[in-house]
Every structure is written in structure tokens, then in C-alpha cells.
Symmetry: C2
DNA sequence: GTCTATATCAAGATAGAC
DNA sequence: GTCTATCTTGATATAGAC
């Protein structure tokens, strides 16, 4: 609406700029606070104080406590997953993906202790509010497609492209990541850094072994659903013995 | 207090018996209510009403809201995991573990919709209360040992015993189960019933392929963890920290 | 746009009736 | 041992000052 905002932020802090800054600070504080105490367990006063503001700032920028959480979910849910996918892409690019995936797990678990609880809060909130579950699913669709194509390349790399839909491998990879992250908080010793990368290696090796029997080429299923989600992933591998 | 309670409950509802019955009803109602609305989001009045009692009954049997939740955690955390492990054992016993693991996933996801949210609540509560995290870890140690020996047998079955610690495979299996369970709630189409069983099959096949090269034993991967063929690993949980 | 003060209400917990 | 009534606190949300 106001055409004055076409200058890069240089000297004069625009009204809309300070508001955007306050908004970001509040969202960051909300992420920390909701991760630490939970959505229902944390008060908006705690969030506001964590950001260095008072209650009024929250209600000025967001309408209610729920809206604040939903805005946070929309910003963070996709951001976090895309970050994980990007690191997975780097892991794939290098010769040995194991240490890269290990760093991914270690960073998400130890360096950012609020990540996993916040993800759990998002999931619980979405489960309890069906309309927002759809929103969460949509937010995750983009990063998930990236992960899917990444897994497709990984399948090609082990010579198992087409034998198994990349969709299934992407789901497994994501489930493994989140599950190991949670388990590491309960018992860190049981989830060493390398476990995620090793599991993915074993998984891909197993797919390769199941698809092509003992190195004999010839994928029995040349159908390769590239980007569309294929619910009929019940394509069972040939018996390996 | 009264030593009259050594009779089997036949005709006279003992004072301690009715109290135990109330306790169980309250715990069941607490499980449902906390799963549906969360620990902080649900009031003790809701729990009491869901059980058919009033607030006083809760405070008579449990001291506080927190104690009620902790008692529920101690009862349910181990029960649920042991149930999953038992079904996995059945899956292992049969010729084709894929459909059995599929039923496990489908049952936990669809037939008992409160299971996954309650597990998430347990985890979040434990993460936020370090002393209870130790309790949760201890509760899970028993069922986890069973799962570990089960995975040891699975490794033997594919001829990869000793190449990889069963401990790691158990961790991966559990992470997969919980991760797929969560993902199924967000997008059911992306997690078909057979996915868990297939992932486990691929994983074991990959371990067999990586560990024993065409039947020759010996770990060939330098980045593999210390390959300890310790069959007593199931009986002996690792020392913490 | 942000803060202070406050209205309103719900929830945890307790005391005494039955 | 369980219920009813109540105390007390803390939290959401709002209204007006600066």
C-alpha cells in the first residue's frame, strides 16, 4: 500500500519494518517457549517476556494464542524439513553419506534441542485440529517432493531404480529421522551419530539386493512413479534367500 | 491396612477392591483424555467426568494432576511397547512377517487412535522433566531387550549375526515404527500397511549383503560400528552415560 | 505500535458432608 | 472413598495511556 518501502533498510526504521522485526522476535520466542513448555503449558506472557515484549505486542501482531501458534507452524514446519532435506542432499552428493547424515542427526538432536519437541507439538496440534492437519500436510509437501527425488537418485545410484517407488523410500527415511531423533532424547547412547546414515545404507543395499537377485540385472518392475504419490506401494520385493 | 483382603473378589466388594476399580477407570479415562487434549490442555475435571466420577475421586486416588499422569506413564509406556514387541515376535515366527507388521502398524494407527498421541505426550513430558525421562527409559528397557533379542534372531535368520549389533537394529526398528505411525496420521496414503514390514525386510537384506559378502563372513565396511557378536546383549542393557 | 491495568473465567487443589 | 462447594491462582483477552 505505501510505496515508500522500496528502499533497502538503511537508516530509517520504517513502521512496517519494526513491526516485522517484532513479529519475527515473537515467533522465535514462541518457538523456544512452546518447545520448552508446550502449547497449552506456556502462557502468552511467557512468550512475550521471552521476546522482550509485553502481552499487548502479541495480541497486536497476532490475534490470539492459537493464531500465534498456527503462524509459527506454517513458518517452521516447512523450514525445518527443507533444512533436513538439504543436508541430506549434501550427504548424497559426497562420497560417504554416513557422516553427513550423522551430523544432521546430531545437530537436530543436540545443537537444537527445541527442534524435536516443537515438531512433536506441531504434530499433536495438527492431530487434534483436523483442518490444520491438512495445512501441515500441505506445508510438508514441497520439501517432501525434494526428498523423494533425492531418494530416486539414491535408488539409481545403487542400481535399484524402478524396482521400488521413491515415494516409499522417502517416507521411510523421514520416519527414521524423526524416530531416531526422539529415541536419542530418551537414551542418547542407543542412537550414535552414524546410525541414521548406516540405516539408510543398509536400506538401499537391501532394496538393491531384493530388486536384483545377487547382482543379476533386470528390474522386474520398470514402472517408476517419479513425483506423484503412489498409494499402491504394496509392491513386495522378490523373495531373497 | 486391613488384612481381610486376602480373599479373591467374589461377593463382597472390598473397600480396597472398589478403590482399585476406580483407580483403573480413572487411568483409562486419563489415557483417553490426555491423548485427545494433551496433558496441559485437559483438566482433571474432564478426566474425572470421562471416568464417571467427580474431581474428588482423582485427588483421593492420586495426589495431583501430575501424579496421575506419571502413574499413567508408568503403566502404559511399557505395556504398549511390549505389545508391539510381542506382535513383532509373531511376525517373525510366521513365514511372511510383512503382513503381521502391517497389522501392527494399522492397528496402532487406526484401531487405537489414542496410542500415538499418548506416546507423544509421554515423550514430551519426559523431555521436559529430566527425572521422569530416566523413569521412561527404565520402563522401556525391558520390552526393548525383548525386541533386541528378536532382532538378533532375525539377523541370524538372514545370516548376518555378529556383523551388526542387534542393539542398533532394535533401535532402527522402533524408530521406524514410531515414525511411520506419526506420518500415517498426517498423510495416510503415504504409509501403506506393508511399509513397515517391507522396510524391515530391506534393512535385514541390506545388512546381510553388507556384512557377509556372498556368504563370506566379516564386516567389510570400515565405517561400521564395532561389530560385537555378543548374544547376551539382550539381557544386558548398556550402562547409561 | 507497544505497554499497563484490568475484566473475566477456568482450572488446580482443599474442606467438610454423606 | 467419593461427592459438593469453595478458595485461590493464573491465564486469555481487552481498553485505554503514551
Amino acid at each position: 500500500m505505501s510505496p515508500d518501502a522500496d528502499h533497502p533498510p538503511k537508516r530509517r526504521p520504517t513502521r512496517a519494518e519494526t513491526k516485522a522485526r517484532t513479529r519475527r522476535l515473537l515467533l522465535d520466542a514462541a518457538a523456544r517457549t512452546y518447545a520448552r513448555k508446550g502449547f497449552a503449558g506456556a502462557s502468552v506472557e511467557e512468550v512475550a517476556e521471552a521476546a522482550g515484549f509485553s502481552i499487548g505486542a502479541v495480541y497486536s501482531n497476532f490475534g490470539s494464542k492459537e493464531r500465534l501458534f498456527v503462524e509459527l507452524l506454517k513458518e517452521r514446519a516447512s523450514e525445518q524439513v527443507s533444512r533436513a532435506t538439504r543436508i541430506m542432499a549434501d550427504a548424497q552428493a559426497g562420497d560417504d553419506p554416513v557422516p553427513a547424515l550423522g551430523r544432521l542427526l546430531a545437530n537436530a538432536a543436540d545443537k537444537d534441542p527445541d527442534f524435536a519437541p516443537l515438531q512433536a507439538e506441531f504434530w499433536l496440534y495438527a492431530v487434534r485440529n483436523p483442518p490444520l492437519m491438512e495445512t501441515l500436510a500441505e506445508e510438508l509437501r514441497g520439501p517432501r517432493a525434494e526428498l523423494e527425488s533425492l531418494m530416486g537418485k539414491a535408488l539409481e545410484h545403487v542400481g535399484a531404480a524402478g524396482s521400488v517407488p521413491a515415494d516409499a523410500v522417502a517416507t521411510i527415511a523421514m520416519a527414521l529421522f524423526q524416530g531416531l531423533l526422539r529415541q536419542r532424547r530418551i537414551d542418547p547412547a542407543s542412537v550414535p551419530d552414524e546410525l541414521l546414515g548406516q540405516a539408510m545404507q543398509w536400506l538401499l543395499a537391501g532394496i538393491a539386493a531384493s530388486g536384483t537377485t545377487s547382482g543379476a540385472p533386470g528390474p522386474a518392475h520398470p514402472d517408476a512413479p517419479a513425483a506423484t504419490d503412489d498409494p499402491a506401494a504394496a509392491d513386495r520385493p522378490e523373495e531373497n534367500r
